[in-house]
Symmetry: C2
Amino acid sequence: MSDATPSAYGDLLDRVRRISNVSHAEELLSWDQQVMMPDEGTPGRARQLSALSAVEHDLLTDDELGTLLDELDATDLDDEPAAVVREVRREHDRAVRVPTDLVERISAASSEALTAWREAKEADDFDAFAPHLEELIDLKRRYAAHVDPDRDPYEVLFEEYEPCLPLSHAEDVLTDLRDAVVPLVDDVRVSDADLTTDAFAGTFAAERQEALMRDALDLLGYPWERGRLDEAPHPFSTGTTFDARITTRYDETDPIGALLSTIHEFGHASYTLGLPDDAYGTPLGEARDLSIHESQSRLWENHVGRSTAFWELFLPRVGDAFPAVDDVTVREAYEAVNAVDPSNTIRVEADELTYHLHIVLRFEIERDLVRGDLDVAEVPAVWNDKMASYLGVRPETDAEGCLQDVHWSHGAFGYFPTYSLGSVIAAQLFDAVDADVEGVDDLIRAGEFDPLHEWLTDRIHRHGKRFETNDLVREATGEDVSADAFVDYATAKYGELYGL
Amino acid sequence: MSDATPSAYGDLLDRVRRISNVSHAEELLSWDQQVMMPDEGTPGRARQLSALSAVEHDLLTDDELGTLLDELDATDLDDEPAAVVREVRREHDRAVRVPTDLVERISAASSEALTAWREAKEADDFDAFAPHLEELIDLKRRYAAHVDPDRDPYEVLFEEYEPCLPLSHAEDVLTDLRDAVVPLVDDVRVSDADLTTDAFAGTFAAERQEALMRDALDLLGYPWERGRLDEAPHPFSTGTTFDARITTRYDETDPIGALLSTIHEFGHASYTLGLPDDAYGTPLGEARDLSIHESQSRLWENHVGRSTAFWELFLPRVGDAFPAVDDVTVREAYEAVNAVDPSNTIRVEADELTYHLHIVLRFEIERDLVRGDLDVAEVPAVWNDKMASYLGVRPETDAEGCLQDVHWSHGAFGYFPTYSLGSVIAAQLFDAVDADVEGVDDLIRAGEFDPLHEWLTDRIHRHGKRFETNDLVREATGEDVSADAFVDYATAKYGELYGL
């Protein structure tokens, strides 16, 4: 902070830190709910979370915060204070513009929609969910109109998850991705390559899987003095630079699922841990949104965890933990974790390549729904047609089709694209690491991950929200966000695997 | 709520619920800090707790809350709304009267005093702690003067922990207790009874102790769907009626320590669980302060957990868990858990009887310090003289004397008496249960604890803060808070054990 920074900036930081601390408290309560809380704790926890959320909203919409922002907007600030003001301004304006009763109506409608979605999925009955989806789209369109009545409502909603990468840019990336991946998947489908996919068949006790996960996290450099590993039904990572926790789940028939999921969450946690301690509680100490967060998890999951070098390092440990699979070769393991299955209809079970087509499909449908270019009633047919067109497979039921994901029942329209954006940014970052750090493959093979952590911390983590998304990627890689690196990587990788 | 209850009451409840939810969030963060948080999480957690505490203070001192209270004070309310208004009024007034900067100074001074106390205790150097103690006493006297300049400052501070039992009443109880227990301990000291105190000598693996604790909690009726058992360095219980958690600790040479501590915390948790679900977040759904809370833990620990009937029930399970002690008899176990040791100088290791003298000594010293009748420099000598007078033992060091407890370094003057008050109320309640419920001993022996839970819930738990402390005890037992029941119980129990 330069000498010229006005005292209003200190006042702003005090307010922002309080908001951030309340938000981190909410995250801890949510972690506890998913990991530790006894079954009947829900009524109390729901009310505690709702109270903290209301407190956070009141603090964020406080008139005095607005006054400080106005004063600072009129001041010539250094880069860092200017970035803080930009980030707080965006959050404040959005919160102020949307009426509280609309936020509450969306919350109530989501709650009902969640129950309806569960039942509709169970009964394979899209019509039972359709009215809830219609109501949520309507409410979220109204929400978008409050934020900015003059812009595309889907663009406004996308910015809830990815506030500073323009939708038009994201749309170009996703279209490039679709246009390159669809033919690549077609080639894989007709390839006569015979990959080993059952290298890790058998039964693997959860307790031993957990020990193996701890071993993997040790190896990757997870600092246990600032973290934990626990089980949760849906793996996630949460916390702060002082305490970034990982969760995973164990399927006794699939130890590799737990491993890749653990490495994925490790990537998220590493980002959080790499944020600067001294900027804790301010935008300069917070992660840059979902795409960049996902780029960290995907980089570790896909570019490290699915690499030959990693399996040269890690396979002996799997064999030690589970002697029944100690004869698996590195090549067999590599094929097992990288096999492409175009016939799979379920996003969360998709491989690294077809995953993007599941995302592009959802993106196109939700965008058209929010823009009013598609009716809810048409969703099942459009979904299945797109699946056939992109992946060559048609879901047999809506439960395995357009009802499979929870996101829309939360009213989360605009979230899906961040998964694919994260993955393409991961490929860009890994290319840049490869260019900057000598012998990355050898380092992975040797279990020497410090240079990779240092590069990622230096180029991404330590900046917090100082740069906007595309600027951050350009600072780190010299390139704008683009699908090119992923397409090149995937073309080479699957070309080798499938003899294309 | 009757039809006549004004709308201001609903507004008050909305505000009170928000405050309560923020407070419960703080408790959960604190539980996590003591039980789950990784070592380096402290900087973030401290700031989160401080932010929530500031939010809670702002909500509690809000002028609009004061306006609602004024309006409701001028209204003729039914008993329950009147009790809510009484409780919120007390909290609001105290919070409004004490300036925020004094609260912050006390918090900062406590933080420094805590470090100084740890070092002083380690070095057995009271002089190093003395200036911190002086400063805290000074600050807390100022605090008391803000709350009410016309009253005894110790009385005002006592009300932080026990807001609605008059200090004069508490003082009478503690004096009666001292006057009865000192001669009883004298008699025990000169008795030639030879109690078995080493029945549970040996090494007891922590893992098996934990299984035994879970077994004990099952037997006592702990509802796992609303609770958890975890380890913590200093056992405590926390939570809400929906989720009341217990912690304990394992000493591999002392399984009975863990058991009695677990049963003690179970008593606290049972109170929390017995609060009415539908009053959650309001004073009618919250526990009546520390003495009543301690009465619940002491009733289960002492009147159940140290009874012959309980050991008839539980000893076989101890023997199953630890075959090395499966030849211990019920009488030996009973003697081991009830032996009196007047030579012990450490409060937390004291038996049920001498414990009160440790408390009375602290009460008398802190009262005189706060009133200005005793100088800090005199504390070690007065402490040791009182130990000699009450217990017939003189600590060899201040580390084992006036430096042993953390409480004063937190600025907690007025807390200690609630331990003994809880214990005497426990004896009153257990007498009343005995009169109301047929064959309590037989029920304990049979592991049938439901009638005891039902009685305690009906007489104590379900009322929340509806009654003030003495009224609650009178409602439950027909008597005012008094040392008589404990004195009768102790005279009979130790008379039998020591042949007095």
